[in-house]
């Protein structure tokens, strides 16, 4: 376990790990006829799903760290948030390219421009693009930490847009959207509540001490 965590902490091992979903869910099935009867639609869904899992994973890590500050796995994974975010963008970009392929021509692609799934998806992609291009130390320095931080908080808006995107992209999609995003929402709420609860506890203790 220790060795595994140590290995997981290195970039040399973690970066290839981010390509595993592509190999396992996209490339191998594509080569072995494992995408079913509507393969392009399946690829479209799978690239999108991987991108969304990546975004959700990144966003789950901060609250997990707040809730379990000493969990070593959480701490190890937290080092790689930047890489996971960039990977999310790459999968999202693949998803958009796949959408071109799925429609077969630009006319079909742009027939959907004003649809809610298209608008929310495009918004999320643009946010991920902005965040991926500024996911380096140089950008942090150039923007200044606070401005950079605020820029990167756009990811929460992107996540909301993605929930809408998933929910509206197909018939009966809301159950999947709920399954993915409601736990994340719960984690984020706990993250906010925990420090508040701690502060409240301290305040109560101080009041009691004064009273006695």
């Amino acid at each position: 376990m220790n060795h595994l965590l140590k290995a997981l902490a290195t970039r040399r091992l973690f970066w290839p790990l981010l390509a595993v979903p592509a190999i396992w869910r996209l490339i191998v099935p594509a080569l072995t006829d494992g995408l079913g009867f509507n393969p392009l639609s399946e690829l479209l869904h799978r690239t999108g799903q991987i991108a969304i899992w990546m975004v959700v994973a990144v966003l789950a890590l901060t609250p997990l760290k707040t809730l379990f500050p000493r969990a070593r796995l959480v701490n190890t994974l937290n080092r790689h948030r930047r890489a996971m975010g960039v990977a999310a963008f790459i999968y999202a970009a693949l998803h958009v390219m796949e959408h071109f392929l799925y429609e077969g021509e630009l006319r079909g692609y742009f027939a959907n421009v004003w649809k809610p799934f298209f608008l929310t998806g495009t918004f999320a992609l643009l946010v991920l693009l902005a965040l991926a291009t500024t996911s380096n130390n140089f950008s942090v320095k150039r923007l200044g930490y606070h401005r950079w931080k605020w820029l990167h908080r756009l990811v929460y808006l992107a996540a909301l847009a993605l929930m809408w995107h998933v929910g509206t992209a197909g018939k009966g999609n809301w159950p999947f959207a709920q399954k993915v995003f409601l736990p994340l929402l719960a984690l984020q709420l706990l993250r906010v509540i925990k420090p508040l609860a701690e502060r409240l506890q301290i305040a109560v203790r101080q009041l009691r001490m004064k009273a006695s």
């Binding site: 079913g36 509507n38 639609s41 077969g104 021509e105 079909g108 959907n112 799934f117």
Partner: protein, 320 residues
């Protein structure tokens, strides 16, 4: 201290057969028997009414110039939300012992005398089956070409002789929460219901299918009897019908109740009228090549000649 020494004949509570299993023991035995018979014919898939199969192709519905979708794709790519929301799962989920033979179809509502048929008997009474190749366009913008075996709905309506007050036909599918676990969900008004105007139902295209590719229709395709209305989106083609009712009021339909702003009563295929959430201008042909792209969707799915008269003076954008 008190010890409870169980007598030698005592059984733990865990050994008690649940009441539902006990009450269903005959059905269980029948399923085993039926399963064995079905397995002898085609391992993995249970089949329904066989009467009249294979049927002869009606040359008026040959669909010249179009390629039939491969049987395996028709059997493997389904929307059957009673069993799963995935496309490739109904093939498995609808064949875990769900029994579709024998199957009783009730016909009632505004007719002189309510009728009841076993599907095989009904096919015999109506004088057999014919094969028709129809385009099939799903509301999700994919399509197939399917060789159905069945009979025109008109024949059944003529047999039922609806009263002059009858203006609509309501179709109801099965309700069996044991076989179809999704029917436990309270978010969907089960059982599946659909409807047509009587005029639509009497149209020459309206078809009740009991077979595909000359074989009894597979469970996942809506065994043993389903509606096929090829100028409408696929969800209008209600599967596994148990009841046909003649009414004077437009019936509520399942998808219309779930999302009225998205799924109208008519649901005619129309490339100019988008689904609120996606374009309907084009469709992906199942079984097409990876780089083939989508093809243009046709008004009334290419059946303009046969059905345009039904909608004269109707605003198709409002009555989607």
């Amino acid at each position: 201290m008190h010890f409870k020494v169980p007598p030698s004949w005592a059984l733990p509570d865990s050994a008690v057969t649940p009441e539902s299993h006990y009450c269903g023991r005959r059905r269980f035995l029948k399923q085993i028997g039926l399963g064995a018979v079905a397995a002898a014919f085609a391992p993995g898939e249970l089949f329904a009414a066989r009467t009249g199969l294979p049927a002869k192709l009606n040359p008026a519905y040959r669909l010249e110039g179009l390629t039939l979708t491969k049987e395996n794709a028709i059997l493997g790519y389904n929307n059957f939300i009673e069993f799963s929301f995935q496309k490739e799962a109904p093939r498995i989920e609808a064949n875990r012992g769900w029994k579709t033979d024998p199957w009783t179809l009730e016909i009632d509502g505004l007719i002189a005398k309510p009728l009841k048929f076993e599907v095989n008997g009904l096919v015999r009474k109506l004088g057999g089956l014919e094969q028709r190749n129809y385009r099939h366009r799903c509301v999700e913008a994919w399509s197939m070409v399917i060789p159905w075996d069945g009979f025109p709905l008109r024949k059944l309506i003529e047999l039922a002789r609806p009263l002059p007050a009858a203006r609509f036909v309501k179709f109801t599918s099965f309700l069996d929460t044991d076989a179809a676990p999704n029917q436990n969900s309270s978010q969907v008004p089960w059982p599946y219901t659909e409807g047509l105007t009587l005029e639509e139902a009497m149209n020459e295209l309206s078809f009740l299918a009991t077979g595909i590719y000359g074989k009894p229709i597979a469970n996942q395709n809506g065994a043993p009897i389903r509606l096929v209305v090829p100028w409408k989106y696929g969800f209008k083609g209600i599967k596994s019908i148990t009841r046909i009712e003649f009414t004077d009021m437009q019936p509520r339909t399942l998808w219309n109740q779930v999302a009225p702003q998205e799924y109208g009563f008519y649901a005619n295929v129309n490339p100019a009228v988008d689904h609120p959430r996606w374009s309907q201008a084009r469709e992906r042909v199942i079984g097409g090549g990876l780089f083939e792209g989508k093809k243009a969707t046709l008004l009334f799915n290419g059946y303009e000649k046969e059905v345009t008269a039904l909608y004269r003076g109707l605003d198709l954008r409002k009555n989607f």
